[in-house]
């Protein structure tokens, strides 16, 4: 089924009063996901945002609670604010990224209320990619520029209209608000089929990576791999699946806030203990952690790789560390006999 962009725009504008709507807009720095008040603000022709949309569920700096001490009285206040939200225009890689984050923040051992309550109240409308950047490599991970994993509704842009594919129950409830859905023409069906069969031209073979990494903890591969890395957080902050965080207290006199901030495994402060000891005290250990976490530990724990091939880290790395080459390097690295 399809909906004309005019009709969808009307539905979108009507939903603004009930939902916080996040969508891609053009800003000074490229494309960013931001709150919008009208469909006319939404950027239609874009590759993807510079930064991943994960921050709407997992902000870079988040107040968890605040507290105040007056005499012997201590008051504690939750800082969690949750709104009904629609994320529109999410690309399939980022939608899949959300699904991977879900595994971290809600699993059989733990549910993170801050992430999860926002996530529960959010509906994701994915929009399939029709332009594929040279750094896109999602097809390496069993996905495609039009895959629907993680989206509640998937749109495919047909020019004047969107093909609407309802993926989840949440999506179904929202799609009920769209009116004037009509059937696709034969030409449009052919276009949809073409978009759905597209693959990224860049692909990396990850079929043996996890099992190879099982045997690579002590590999000399890490010694040389890390040399050119400058240890900034560009890759972690621009990654739709990176989720390491730090919790700290921001205290002033008798009041304070407990905050959660993004951490990044490339930074020297990562896993630094209060004692001054750091089990990963060198870039070598930190790079090994990055690769192991994404392509080995996460697979063992959750059955999926923690990379969606969005290519942001490749584009933004100041020294051109290319994760595709790192995977390839690990695949080919000689194993040391222990």
């Amino acid at each position: 089924m399809k909906i004309s962009k005019v009709k969808f725009g009307q539905a979108f504008d009507a939903l603004v009063s009930e939902y916080q709507i996040i969508a891609p807009v053009s800003d000074a720095n490229g494309i960013a996901f931001q709150g919008v008040k009208s469909f006319s603000e939404v950027k239609q022709d874009y590759l993807n945002s510079k930064l991943p949309p994960k921050a709407f569920f997992f902000p870079q700096h988040e107040k968890l609670m605040s507290y105040k001490k007056e005499g012997k009285d201590v008051t504690v206040k939750s800082e969690l604010k949750v709104e009904d939200t629609i994320l529109f225009g999410i690309r399939p890689c980022d939608a899949k990224g959300m699904q991977l984050l879900d595994m971290v923040f809600k699993n059989d051992q733990y549910t993170d209320p801050y992430y999860y309550e926002r996530r529960e109240k959010a509906v994701i409308i994915g929009v399939a990619c029709q332009k594929i950047a040279p750094t896109c490599f999602c097809s390496s991970f069993g996905m495609s520029p039009a895959s629907s994993e993680g989206s509640d509704i998937l749109f495919i842009d047909l020019g004047d209209s969107y093909e609407v594919e309802v993926i989840t129950e949440k999506g179904k409830a929202l799609a009920a608000r769209f009116e004037a859905l009509s059937e696709l023409t034969a030409d449009e069906q052919a276009l949809v089929a073409k978009i759905k069969s597209a693959e990224t031209s860049s692909k990396v073979d990850v079929s043996t990576t996890t099992s190879k990494l099982d045997k690579m903890f002590n590999s000399p591969f890490w010694d040389t791999l890390q040399e050119k890395c400058i240890g900034c957080n560009v890759c972690s902050f621009s990654c739709p699946t990176c989720h390491c965080f730090d919790i700290s207290e921001e205290v002033r006199k008798n009041e304070g806030t407990r905050v959660r901030t993004w951490d990044g495994c490339m930074a020297p402060l990562f896993t630094l203990h209060g004692s001054g000891h750091n089990p990963r005290d060198h870039k070598k250990a930190r790079w090994r952690q990055r690769m192991m976490h994404k392509f080995n530990y996460f697979v063992h724990n959750n059955g999926s790789m923690a990379c969606v091939g969005c290519g942001r880290c490749i584009k933004s790395c100041p020294v051109n560390m290319d994760i595709r080459q790192v995977i390839d390097g690990a695949n080919k690295a000689e194993l040391v006999v222990e």
Binding site: H61, C232, T261
Partner: protein, 323 residues
Amino acid sequence: MTGVQRMNKIISDIRETARQLLADGKVDVVIGYAKGSLPLKATPCFVHSAQEVDSLIWDETCENNLAAFVAKTPGKKAIVAKGCDSRALVVLLQENQLVRDDLYIIGVSCHGVIDQRKIGAEVGEILEASISDGKISVKGMEGDKEYLFAEVKDATCQTCRYPNPVIEDLHLGELIQVSQDVAAFADVSAMENKSESERQAYFKEQMSKCIRCYACRNACPLCYCQECFVDCNSPRWLTGGVDRAENLLFQAGRVLHLAGRCVDCGACSRACPQGVDIRALNRKMTKDVYEMYNHESGISEEGKPALNVYSANDPEEQFLVKE
């Protein structure tokens, strides 16, 4: 020789020099550039054996300041240094961060590096690109375009007065004639001439883009503090909050810490994934140091960075009193 031939000669000389240094055991590693995985992007390269030297390259895409790696790389090392890299090495030597005898500087003169961001803004994602005799042909997702190198030269390189290394053990290629004998700060003057509210608006916008990834700090050859003030938690100078005020505190703190030391290589701006105009702050500080102390950092091995020396003649009347 044509430009291409000259470039190729420098590349083969870099490789040959590296081969000799490694084969003779004079150095453990050669730090240079290799072809990157993306068009118009070189990548820092660490060559450990004579067999690997053919990965070394040299061209207008070699944008990183390799001096940032030197102190962190153990052993004896050779480094491919352009003018700004060499200036950073000078400051590091002046500040006792490097052992000169452990360092072999392969100097190359630099005509400047390419501002890929400018190209990307016009042609979209760059699919293919080639550089030949001062012309750059680019195939982008939004279209193809040909540029003259001068049109897409990085802003830093446009005001560079030290394209030739100021310290080196060997020079490869021809020296570049520099006509500009006084530092020009037209960009800073333009900023100074804006009204306070205009400047405030400009820096508000710039600071709101910062995501505090610290790529600028880490790409900087002269940001080498063991513990950066932003990472210090006792006292805690700033929080992990990513907002304009905190971001400005970080950026301004970093710039002040580089006063009289910054060599204006532009590595910070190029490293920034968000396109923050970090140089706008650095350049103002560089201009002030130039005018107040008649000092340019890292241009000679003699002397010390401007703010590392004190004299009774310092023009700070209220501060130092002659008895």
